[in-house]
């Protein structure tokens, strides 16, 4: 694995000059993923913040090949690119070794793009799908998505006189991806470059479909000081609100924080959760803490239980 000094010397594949907000986590994801992937990487992106801020014609922030077609289909589009590559390799028309990476936000991945993502994973394309997960539709102005956590304030599940933000729990997409029995699924975070780059390197060293769900603070939608993006990402991990783990061939490997902090440490820094700190919303806050505790415990159980299961060697 490369160290920070090596990474800083690499050719920049996601360049500056793009139009992302100050403190944008998605741009950090793109830059670090591309650092780990290196040249000879073909990028496909779903419509969303990342595509919008990085490719305003006639400019592009992508030094290598980049393709965007629509919102719900990054996985299907990259499938076609990878299929052509396989066809050309088989026909002897091409000889370079390439990585194929698709980026999608949580809207384009958890919701509208779930079908095409599931199809691509089931078909077994040699691709890495990276979800930059900021837990809402940020590009259109902070609407709730399937990734939005319970209690968060968004423009389509706002905090009002009778409602207290989103009423449902977020879906566990990483588990859904792991249930496709792909060789590699993982969660990572903005704020831990070593974790993200090493997971990307590991994923790209494995043949077949890979998925990394990167938790990405959004200063606009989450309403916090832009300087705090990485700190908030790390707090999500330290409170076990967003555990870092890998599922490699069905085996779980969880990165445990030294000390599990209460979720309020994570929540109190963000405007989207401001209302949860009011005394009258204590029951909701308790419920959020309870579900985090349950999910964390369940994840640790998966790690120990699945360790005893031996996977058969593929034919």
């Amino acid at each position: 694995m490369a160290n920070l000094k090596d990474l800083s010397k690499q050719k920049v594949l996601f360049t500056g000059g793009h139009r992302a907000c100050a403190g944008c986590g998605a741009a950090i994801v793109a830059r670090q993923v591309m650092m780990a992937a290196g040249p000879n990487t073909v990028v496909v992106s779903a419509t969303g913040c990342l595509e919008v801020v990085s490719t305003i014609f006639p400019y592009t922030a992508w030094a290598g090949p980049f393709l965007h077609s629509a919102f719900e289909n990054a996985a299907a589009t990259v499938s076609g690119v990878e299929a052509l590559y396989k066809s050309w390799i088989r026909q002897g028309k091409y000889n370079k070794k390439l990585n194929f990476i698709a980026f999608g936000g949580d809207g384009g991945t958890y919701d509208i793009g779930l079908q095409s993502l599931s199809g691509a994973m089931e078909r077994g394309h040699n691709i890495l799908y990276v979800c930059y997960n900021n837990e809402a539709y940020m590009n259109t102005g902070v609407q709730r998505s399937g990734a939005t956590p319970k209690g968060a304030d968004t423009t389509t599940a706002p905090v009002g006189k009778v409602k207290k933000g989103k009423e449902q729990y977020r879906k566990d997409l990483t588990a859904i991806m792991a249930a496709h029995n792909i060789p590699y699924a993982a969660q990572s975070v903005v704020g831990n470059w070593r974790d993200l780059t090493s997971k990307v390197e590991k994923a790209l060293s494995i043949e077949g479909p890979k998925f990394i769900n990167v938790f990405q603070p959004c200063r606009l939608g989450w309403s916090y000081d832009p300087a705090k993006t990485c700190e908030i990402g790390r707090l999500a991990v330290e409170t076990c609100s967003w555990p870092l783990y890998e599922v490699i061939d069905g085996q779980y490997k969880v990165s445990k924080p030294k000390e599990k902090k209460p979720v309020t440490e994570f929540i109190k820094m963000q405007g989207r959760f401001r209302h949860l700190l009011k005394p009258e919303n204590k029951a909701l806050l308790d419920d959020i803490q309870a579900i985090i505790d349950k999910n964390w415990e369940s994840l640790l159980k998966k790690e120990t239980c699945f360790a005893q299961v031996v996977s058969p060697k593929p034919a």
Binding site: P39, N40, V42, V44, E51, V52, T55, I56, F57, P58, T60, W62, A63, G64, P65, F66, L67, H68, S69, A70, E72, N73, A76, T77, V78, S79, G80, V81, E82, A83, L84, Y85, K86, S87, W88, R90, Q91, Y94, K96, L98, Q115, S116, S118, G119, E122, R123
Partner: protein
């Protein structure tokens, strides 16, 4: 001239055979009646190692066209097939394929759109996406389906415009006919090797495809696309000329059948043109100066050429196998009238919407149309828009 093999094939088989002989780099497709066989037969070619194609059995038509866009943008010769609801689900991606100027070829088996759900032929699916920026070619029979597919790949790659070739659901797709096939080697020579100009997998010249195009560029890019569609007419004719030189089978933007000295004519697309030819033959024997115009290329619409062909007629009947839901007439009729208007030709144009949801169109139906046309030509009052063969 090349040697031809005489075979018996259904429309779906003919299209699949054409795809096998073209040997695309990638086919991404999803099953749908009545087009399922096209990709099913093609999958068997892949399984038997008869093609070099990477076949991507996607989970929806939307993903089929998305994967085709990925493949074509990456630099590959790319094909697919679908019908009806599948084409409708693809609609978003059809526009994007055309806007990105990707030379994808799609075999579409015309079928009615829901609702009500129906699996039989009409042209509402193809008409739904007539503004998507694809070249649209209609086929009268299995031979034309095969010939059009071979020409489509060259048209697409030369004009940098995707092309859809259609047959009529069940009528052509499942009807077996005598037809002539070229040898594999002759097809290989005719379609040539595809050499993309700019493509994603060219690491020597990395490009961004599908950039965000705002108020300062979008219009210029769309204008270029519009110009390319205009210019594609010549490409279509050039490819047809080369095809005729090799096979003896001539194609144009439309076919004129017994139009010499014709006073009245029917305009019909797809399989109905075949039925109409039988009626025209019978009428000509009786001394009626009847003819037929069969538009082959609906997009780009051969406006000036059709207006010229119609100029000398006394009256015209336009047969539409779908309706525009514009509360006046079918889509082909709208185009014909616009063409005549711009030419300064005032003419009696009757519109017959027929065959929706696979309702059979018989010889008597077309005889009836010619009967009304003859009346209209004599100045008798005839309804301008009729729904043929419907109970009401």
């Amino acid at each position: 001239m090349v040697n031809s093999n005489i075979v018996a094939r259904t429309g779906n088989e003919a299209m699949a055979e054409a795809m096998r002989q073209i040997n695309p780099d990638v086919v991404a497709a999803y099953p749908i009646t009545p087009a399922t066989e096209v990709v099913q037969i093609f999958a068997s070619y892949v399984a038997d190692g008869l093609v070099d194609t990477e076949f991507v059995p996607v989970e929806s038509e939307h993903s089929a066209m998305s994967a085709c866009i990925g493949s074509a943008a990456a630099g590959g010769r790319t094909m697919t097939g679908t019908s009806s609801q599948g084409l409708a689900l693809m609609a978003e991606m059809l526009y994007i394929a055309a806007g990105l100027r990707l030379p994808i070829v799609l075999a579409d088996v015309n079928r009615a759109l829901s609702s009500p759900i129906n699996i039989h032929c009409d042209h509402s699916d193809t008409m739904m996406v007539k503004e998507s920026g694809w070249v649209q070619i209609f086929s009268e029979n299995c031979q034309e389906a095969y010939d059009n597919m071979l020409q489509a790949i060259r048209i697409a790659e030369t004009a940098k415009i995707p092309v859809v070739v259609t047959t009529d659901g069940f009528i052509i797709s499942h009807g077996m006919e005598r037809m002539e096939m070229l040898s594999d080697a002759d097809v290989k020579k005719f379609v040539g090797e595809y050499k993309p100009e700019n493509y994603l997998l060219n690491l020597e010249k990395p490009i961004t495809i599908g950039a965000l195009d705002l108020t300062d560029y979008y219009f210029e890019h769309k204008r270029q696309q519009i110009e390319a569609i205009r210019n594609s007419k010549k490409v279509i004719l050039d490819v047809a000329k080369d095809f005729a030189a090799k096979t003896g089978r001539s194609y144009g933007l439309f076919e004129q059948y017994k139009m010499d000295g014709a006073e009245i004519a029917v305009i019909a697309m797809g399989s109905t043109a075949g039925t109409a030819k039988v009626v025209v033959n019978a009428l000509r024997k009786k001394g009626v100066k009847a003819g037929l115009i069969k538009p082959r290329v609906f997009r780009p619409f051969p406006k000036e050429e059709l207006a010229d062909a119609l100029a000398g007629l006394k009256a015209v009947a336009v047969m539409d196998r779908s309706d525009s839901m514009n509360a006046h007439e079918g889509p082909l009729c709208v185009e014909i009238k616009a063409a005549l208007f711009d030419k300064g030709v005032s003419k009696t144009v009757l519109n017959y919407v027929y065959g929706l949801g696979g309702r059979e169109i018989k010889l008597e139906d077309i005889e009836f149309v010619f009967g009304e046309l003859a009346d209209a030509a004599k100045g008798k009052p005839v309804s301008r828009v009729s729904y043929l063969g419907v109970r009401e």
